[in-house]
Symmetry: C2
Subunit: 220 residues, 2 copies
């Protein structure tokens, strides 16, 4: 995946802007589990995912996590570029979920392009607005959707991301994604198993009735 | 409050852009309690508050509300301009909390300026990023802060907005701001009263110990 595949506006940049973007962008490989960005203290710049998978999450004072976004190839993450995006001030952590290959556009270049290129500025605005929409959706989920629906939705999404109905993921990890405790996840998964929706075995959750789970997610 | 006072980037616009903004912007007066915008079905354009106070909120399927933003003179609201801001897709309602006077920049003009003016595009990106930061803060509040701290914070903010320690606000309204039920608010207010932090009387909450309440909000 080339740089231009990550930036949908590539064709609309001037030749000079393309050169600047190409000269500034760095390729970075990260292993699964490695933190890429830890809150607003540092500023790593804009991240575009070439290969693999990363996630952005927030962390409570007690260390509880909640996943904000999961980014797959072609996705752009703004949360690692707090310093380069005026108006953005928030501690969001970013880590690799799988071994990943990223394009990183350092803060200085990012700032320069935002200030000079209308196309780039519009793109950043669009990514910010899109992140905003996603987070609003998340607020609704957390606030108003029951946990069974959120868990079903997460398992279906995970199954789609992995391209399999047999998920290798711990209850602990699911809890970190959904901002809850492991026990809560385990209890609900046992209920799902009793209902014939999943089969649980050591380190694996097998989805048996995705259609039934999808109906659950539609429920409020 | 003139148009240029609402748009901090005014000085950096070209003469043509200023004329376009001035020609397109409409003044609109709204009475307290009047809905300004009801979700993504309609698109009213960008709203800048000249006078009064408005709020943006989301609504659960059961009609429960949660306030996202409260906007005072000089503030800009993007949520009423879903169609004019690419990447923004979300049902947010906006209503006047007080009798208000607004600048409204209709969607077509908003779109045109975003597409043509770098200064304007940067500003929209900044407002989106700033909204995003606010909502992330709210997610943390809802998810991880105990309700006593959230209520104390709301009362202190309300007191500051109104410039008085005697708040004329119903428990029902507070519940709508904080995304909870009236009973929950009433119960907590009684606890605050027992602790000597407030005095409750018909339709009025008097703050007696703002310092004690401030300490409560600092607590996680």
């Amino acid at each position: 995946m080339e740089l231009k595949d990550c930036f949908p506006f590539w064709e609309r940049l001037t030749a000079a802007e393309r050169s600047e973007l190409e000269a500034a962008a760095l390729v970075r490989g990260v292993e699964a589990g490695v933190p890429l960005h830890t809150g607003s203290a540092d500023c790593d710049g804009l991240i575009a995912v070439m290969d693999g998978q990363i996630r952005a999450f927030i962390l409570s004072p007690e260390g509880r996590e909640l996943t904000l976004h999961r980014l797959v190839p072609g996705d752009i993450c703004l949360f690692s570029a707090t310093c380069a995006v005026p108006g953005l001030r928030f501690d969001v952590s970013v880590e690799a979920e799988k071994n990943s290959l990223l394009w990183v556009l350092p803060p200085a270049a990012c700032k320069r392009l935002v200030a000079r290129s209308l196309v780039f500025a519009n793109f950043i605005g669009e990514v910010a607005a899109s992140h905003l929409s996603d987070i609003l959706w998340l607020v609704e989920q957390v606030l108003w959707k029951s946990f069974d629906a959120r868990l079903a939705e997460f398992l279906l999404e995970e199954s789609e991301l992995e391209g399999t109905g047999k998920l290798k993921i711990t209850h602990e990890k699911i809890a970190a994604h959904l901002g809850t405790a492991r026990e809560v996840v385990t209890r609900m998964l046992r209920y799902f198993q009793d209902e014939g929706m999943v089969r649980l075995s050591r380190g694996c959750i097998e989805l048996l009735a995705p259609d039934k789970m999808a109906r659950l997610t539609a429920k409020k």
